[in-house]
Symmetry: C2
C-alpha cells in the first residue's frame, strides 16, 4: 500500500481546486493547491471524482474479451432465460470473461461493483466459485460484492432454494430474487424464500424486478412491507423496478422510502418504463446506477463506462440543473458506495482513497462528456493511467 501521495491542483466536486493528500490508502487531508508536501502527481486541469460504482453488473454473463457478437434479444424474460441456458454450457469459464471485464471497468475508474451471479440447477455454484476467485484476483483494483441470483427462478427450478442457501454459506454477500409473479408465479412464495434466506444468513437482498404496472407496484409494496417487518432497512434493494415509471407509483415510492429500500437503475431502453430518479431522491429513496448487461447473451450493448451511463441517465430524464447533474453523478459514485456499505464515494478526509481523475474542468462537465480517464486511484495506489492499467 502506498505510503503517501499528493494529487496536486485537482478540481474537487465542489468546484474548488486542492491538493489531495493520501496516506495509507485513505484521504488524509485536502490542502490549498501547491501547499502539500510529499511525492506529487500534477493534476492541474483534471477533475477528481470519487471512484465510480457499478451497482448492477453481471460479471459472470459477459462475453468481454471474446469476438463481438450482435444478436436479437428474445421477446420475454422467460424466452431470454431459455436462450441463455442453451448457450451457457459452451461458453468459456466465468473466471476469464469476468476478469477481462473487471480489468476493463477498473481502467475506466470503477472502483466498486455489485455483481449478480447466476445460481440455478444448470450451473449450480460454479459461477459463484469463479467470482469468489476473481474477487481475490482483482482485489487491488476493484471491490466486488456478490449477489446470489436465481436467474431461472426459484420455485420453477426446484433445487434453487437449496443452492441459494449454499451460495450464501460459501461467500455470496446478498441473496437475489427475480420477478416473483411473472417468473415464479407465486409472489409470496418467492419472497418468503428470499427474505427467509437473508434473515437466516444475516445478509442483504437485491431483487431483479422487471414486472411493469400494477403487478410490479404490488411487488414493491410487498418488498417494502417485508423489509420493515424484518428490520432490514438499508439492506434491501430492488433492481430495475420499471413499475416506478408508472403514473400511479406514488404510494409504492413512499413505502420504499419509509422502509429504506434502495433502487438500482441502468437507464433502460425505451420499451420499458424507468424509475424517475429525481422524484425518488426527493422522496428519500436511495437510487444507484449500474450497467446491467455488458456485451452478453441478453444484450450486445454496454461498454462498462459508469460515467457515460450516469450521463445517459441524466440525459434520458432531462436532468440539467446543477443539483440534478450532481444527483446523476451521485448515482454512480456516492449512492453506489452507500448501497454497497463502502466508505468510498466521497472526496473528504477519512474516506477511502478511491478516485478517478478525468480531463474535465468540473464534475458536472465530466458527467456530460465522459472524458478520458487520466488516473485511477484504488486504496491510495495509482492503478491506471490514460485508460490503461499499470499492471
Amino acid at each position: 500500500m502506498a505510503e503517501r501521495l499528493v494529487l496536486s491542483g485537482a478540481v474537487l466536486p465542489d468546484g474548488t481546486a486542492a491538493d489531495i493528500v493520501i496516506a495509507d490508502g485513505r484521504i488524509a487531508q485536502l490542502a490549498a493547491p501547491g501547499t502539500a508536501a510529499g511525492p506529487a502527481e500534477d493534476c492541474t486541469g483534471m477533475a477528481a471524482l470519487p471512484g465510480l460504482a457499478d451497482a448492477h453488473i453481471h460479471l459472470d454473463k459477459t462475453l468481454w474479451g471474446l469476438p463481438f457478437e450482435a444478436h436479437a434479444r428474445g421477446g420475454t424474460v422467460a424466452e431470454r432465460i431459455a436462450f441463455e441456458r442453451s448457450r451457457r454450457p459452451s461458453l468459456p469459464p466465468v473466471f476469464g470473461r469476468g476478469l477481462a471485464l473487471a480489468r476493463h471497468v477498473a481502467a475506466l475508474g470503477t472502483t466498486q461493483v455489485r455483481s449478480h451471479v447466476d445460481i440455478d440447477t444448470q450451473s449450480g455454484l460454479s459461477g459463484l466459485f469463479d467470482l469468489l476467485r476473481l474477487r481475490e484476483a482483482v482485489r487491488d483494483l476493484v471491490d466486488i460484492q456478490i449477489v446470489a441470483f436465481p436467474q431461472s427462478g426459484i420455485l420453477r427450478d426446484p433445487g434453487t432454494a437449496e443452492l441459494l442457501d449454499a451460495a450464501l454459506r460459501e461467500g455470496a454477500d446478498l441473496v437475489g430474487g427475480l420477478d416473483p409473479s411473472a417468473i415464479d408465479g407465486d409472489a409470496a412464495g418467492h419472497l418468503d424464500i428470499v427474505f427467509g434466506l437473508a434473515e437466516r444468513h444475516g445478509k442483504g437482498i437485491d431483487i431483479h424486478l422487471h414486472e411493469p404496472g400494477a403487478a410490479g407496484l404490488g411487488a414493491l409494496a410487498d418488498i417494502a412491507r417485508r423489509t420493515g417487518a424484518a428490520a432490514m432497512q438499508g439492506r434491501v434493494a430492488v433492481s430495475h423496478a420499471f413499475a416506478l415509471g408508472h403514473p400511479a407509483a406514488g404510494p409504492a415510492v413512499d413505502a420504499l422510502a419509509r422502509a429504506g429500500v434502495a433502487i438500482v437503475t441502468n437507464g433502460p431502453p425505451r420499451a420499458v418504463a424507468m424509475p424517475p430518479v429525481a422524484a425518488l431522491q426527493a422522496a428519500g429513496v436511495l437510487v444507484a446506477a449500474g450497467s446491467d448487461n455488458i456485451r452478453d447473451l441478453w444484450s450486445p450493448h454496454g461498454n462498462g463506462d459508469m460515467l457515460q451511463r450516469a450521463g445517459m441517465i441524466a440525459y434520458m430524464q432531462g436532468l440539467c440543473a446543477p443539483e440534478e447533474l450532481e444527483l446523476a453523478l451521485a448515482l454512480a459514485t456516492s449512492h453506489g458506495a452507500a448501497l454497497c456499505g463502502s466508505d468510498g464515494g466521497r472526496i473528504a478526509p477519512g474516506g477511502a482513497a478511491d478516485m478517478v481523475l478525468v480531463a474535465a474542468g468540473s464534475a458536472a462537465e465530466a458527467l456530460v462528456s465522459a472524458p478520458p480517464r487520466r488516473m485511477v486511484i484504488k486504496r491510495g495506489r495509482i492503478i491506471a493511467r490514460d485508460g490503461k492499467l499499470e499492471s
Copy 2:
C-alpha cells in the same frame, strides 16, 4: 491533397480485412491485406468506418470552449426561446464557439454536419455570416451544410421571412421551419412561407417539429403533401418528429415514405416520444441521426460524439440484431451522407475518402463501444490521430 495513401489491414464494415487505397481524395481500390503498394499506415486491429455525419447540429448555439455551465431547461419551447434570446447578446461571437466545436467533432471522426443557424430579428444574419466564414476555416476538416432556421418563429417574429429570404441568397443551403402550429399558430401560413422560399431559391427544407400527437402527425402529413406537390422528393427533412412515436403514426409514416421526406432524430430524452427507427427504415423512410444541442442554452448535455449517439439510439430502441446494429451505424454514416447529398458515407471504390479508424474488431463493436478514434481521414488526408487534430 494527398496523392496516395494505403490504409493497410483495416477491417471493413462487411467484416473483411483490406488494404484501402486512397488516391486524390477518393477511395481508389480495396485490395487484399498486405498487397497494395505505396505509403502505408498500419491499420491492423482497427475498424474502418465511413466518416461520421452529424445531421442536426447547432454550431451557432454551442458554448463549447467556454467554462461549462449547468442550467435548468425552461418548460416549453417558447420559454426556452425567450431564455436564449435573453442570454444571446452577451455571448462571444458565433465564429469562435462554432470553430471550437467543429474542430472537436472533426477529431472524433465527424466529416460532415448539417448545422442549423438561428435567423431572427434579434440576431439577423450575423450567425449565418459567421458560419459561412467558419465553413471556409474548417473546409479541410469537415463539410458544413447550413440551414437558415427561424428559431423565434416566422409569423410571430415579423421580418423573419425577409431575413430567411436574404439568408438563402447569402449562401444558406436549406430553409428551416419550426413547429408551425405551436409556435406560429398558423400551420398553413408557416409552411406556405417555408415551401415558397425553398421553391423560389431552389433549395431544400429541414423543419424542426417538436409538436406531439395529432398536431404533429397533421403537420407531417401536410409536409409530405406539400413535398409531393412541389416535386421536392429527397430534398425535405423533418427533424425530431416526436409525433412519429405515437401509436397512430402509421399513415403519416406511409405519407413520408411516398413523398421521400427524411427524418432526423437525436434520440431525445424520455419526456417526449421518439421516431421508431427500424419501423421507419422498413417503411422506406430515410432516417439520419444528429446531436442537436451540444452544451448550449437549451441543454448542458451533448459531447458531439456521433458514434456514441448512434449507439445510444440503438440502445434506447432495443436494436440488437446484426442488421439492426448496421442500421444504427448507418444513421450516423451513410444515411447522413445521403441526407446531405454527399458522396461519402460508404467505403467503396469511387467514394470520397472520408473515414474514421477506431480501436474495434468490427463496425458493430465500434457502434456499441464508441472506442477511441485512431485516425480520421478527410478527402484522403489524415487530419487527426488519437483524438487530436494534426493541425
